[in-house]
Symmetry: C2
Subunit: 414 residues, 2 copies
């Protein structure tokens, strides 16, 4: 079985939005064992959309579209697909209700075009949109399937995972299950080297590394008659990977590092306070991006200047004079200072040079000290994060933040 | 003139890499006045690559490929294009030298396949790769042009801007210039409504709105015999747009809001301190993401708990009891408190409910107060940022941050 992904929308075609949906769907389809040979992008133009649809259907069994399901005149996906299959459009009652309820709750009058997004081709399979308004739709005819999904990733992704995956597996007698081993601190090539033999010889489960925006995950997927049998194939391989990659594995199916940190803090009833210099708030921002962080996060201080380090965190002025603001000693005092100030169980201090200016031979751009202070663990990590990237400052701030999250996770005993 | 973008590489096709090159090239081509109707992605497969190339060349005057120029056996782009045009490959001497110099400097023996990336089709225009090894290549025949660019964005982007843009403009006797009007606080549809008449009637300059990840920009582009003549066409239209959109315009060619804030603070010699609750450090993170922020940013405090608001910022416990942590009064005291604490010229306080939990009928999720305190401006803004998005928390945090940046900009008198 093979599929094509067709992104629809002038804002994607013209580059105003990066097509992250395409990468997401390609990874998900690969995990389902569905081959992909082409991805395309076309704008909100009726003729070219029709031509692109015909081309994709001539090459693939399944065409998955994203976008063009909204309520405005340039949302053409449904009409184009319905015309292609010779189907009329009808209103999907649950979606109508959801849209009407929104307008009622806002006390605003609904214009008729809002209901356009509740229209679906007659006889189609409808995927209710739990996180938005326009439903997803599957139309099957003559051995070809078109699956239309909404463009916003926040609607498309849960719809795909929760509704389209079961739809695609409906004719399969086996179940596909997977677990993701979450990794930080080892590059993709090194991970591949350490796992190459089992990656290339194992066929069920399969083992595949995926580079994430940060870090990496290794997905272990197995097919079996039911979930239990699949898990029985997966579990020992996950253990094997954990043993080979050691401390670089920060969890299995735990998501991002910040998610793992907040989960661990909550599970252990621990609280946290942060003192940041070069990361400028990126650490507290990462932690507080997770819902429920308020239960475990006392406070975060961003102390750029020496004055503020002394005044707020109680860093010793003599330390700053002798060792400098970017030093192991300052990082330690920032960590212990913010912990004492806040009464949190874990204090963390980060100081470094994010660049592009401010570096010296002795203390170059990319030098970062991260110190953690808790009953269980008091230690300081020295990093050099300079890699010569084009957006070096952003890279250094992001990776210093990730190393700090990793250190917090260690301090929780997780 | 119209172009197509063809991304080549299985790692893009299968979603292991997000195709950011496509968005970059689409925006750049649009700015050059070159139309794009299709983008495609194909893997490292000789037959499908050839078919995709033929299809793109049947639809467009120019095909721009990214990827597949490296030294390994699955880098097929050059061979496929050379075969299509009936050209043989030859070594490009400057690129050979660069590769040999690298191996010499590493004291490592060079394997012959490394020179494959220095091969170019006979008679092609070659773009030397300043930031990598594989050169870019343009082949022109029969009114069709194929431009092959390396896949890594750090090589592709500077090559495109510095070498391909002049190449594409070589036959033009006119110059294309543009200015971007930066907008925050007005939606795309409202901006279009206010500018529709001039957007649809003006032809030189043209006026086009682009939704950015945050906010919006309106690009005004003119063609003329030289830069001066083009600017003379653009300037009055930019003025007209500024008048129509009023305070929603925060600058012209100033980039992101945080960039505009840091630029304004530096220009006026003003300093800033932030006190955040619901945004959790996102404001200080945004500001410190800009190089040079350390000159203007004193400190940022993230005070999630009432205790920390009282202890660090001097918020009155009675205020918290009577009005609550999410109130105008608390926001004001956070702003004045962090200003007094730090001695900065401008203090800003943000308090609100980012959700998903913590909302009540009286104080629902999305309610945010932002207060600014400076000699020039002391005011508080009340926002309701709830929109029913799936990633509501991230949305509320991001927009509260943007409103705060906008308020700081006002406080600088910009």
């Amino acid at each position: 079985m093979n599929a094509e992904i067709l992104a629809i929308g002038s804002e994607i075609l013209l580059g105003d939005i990066v097509n992250t949906n395409g990468a997401f769907l390609a990874q998900e389809l690969a995990a389902l064992g569905i081959d992909i040979y082409h991805q395309s992008v076309v704008g909100d133009n009726a003729q070219r959309l029709r031509e692109s649809l015909e081309l994709s259907l001539s090459r693939a069994d399944i065409v998955i579209t994203t976008g063009g399901l909204g309520p405005t005149y340039d949302d053409l996906t449904k009409k184009t697909v319905a015309d292609y299959f010779g189907l009329s459009l009808e209103l999907h009652a649950p979606s109508v209700e959801k849209i009407e309820a929104l307008f009622a709750s806002l006390n605003r009058e609904m214009t008729p075009n809002n209901l356009l997004q509740a229209e679906v081709p007659l006889g189609a399979v409808v995927f209710f949109n739990d996180t938005g308004f326009a439903p997803g739709i599957a139309v099957e005819q003559g051995g070809k399937t078109v699956i239309m999904l909404p463009g916003p990733p926040g609607e498309m992704k849960p719809m795909f995972r929760n509704k389209v995956v079961p739809f695609l597996q409906k004719d399969q007698t086996s179940t596909l299950r997977s677990q993701k081993v979450n990794i930080f601190g080892l590059g993709e090539s090194l991970v591949e080297e350490k796992l190459r033999d089992i990656m290339t010889t194992y066929t069920n489960p399969t083992i595949a590394p995926y580079a994430k925006q940060v870090g990496l995950e290794v997905r272990v997927s197995a097919k079996a008659k039911d979930a239990e049998a699949a898990d029985a194939l997966i579990d020992p391989v996950v253990e094997q990977i954990k043993q080979r990659l050691g401390s670089a594995v920060y969890g299995v199916d735990v998501g991002s590092l910040q998610n793992a940190v907040v989960t661990a803090l909550r599970a252990k009833g621990l609280t946290l306070a942060t003192a940041e210099s070069c990361t400028g708030g990126a650490l507290s921002q990462a932690i507080t991006s997770i819902a429920g962080a308020s239960e475990v996060f006392h406070c975060g201080l961003v102390t750029y200047s020496n004055d503020m380090k002394i005044k707020l965190l109680g860093v010793d002025s003599q330390t700053l004079l002798v060792h400098g603001a970017v030093s192991e000693q300052t990082a330690q005092q920032m960590a212990s200072g913010v912990r004492a100030l806040s009464g949190a169980d874990i204090g963390i201090g980060i100081t470094g040079i994010a660049g592009p200016g401010g570096g010296t031979d002795e203390k170059p751009v990319g030098l970062v000290y991260i110190s953690v202070n808790s009953d269980a663990l008091t230690t300081t990590k020295k990093l050099n994060l300079y890699r010569g990237h084009i957006s070096e400052r952003a890279f250094i701030q992001r990776y210093a933040t990730l190393h700090a999250l990793s250190l917090i996770l260690t301090a929780t005993g997780s």
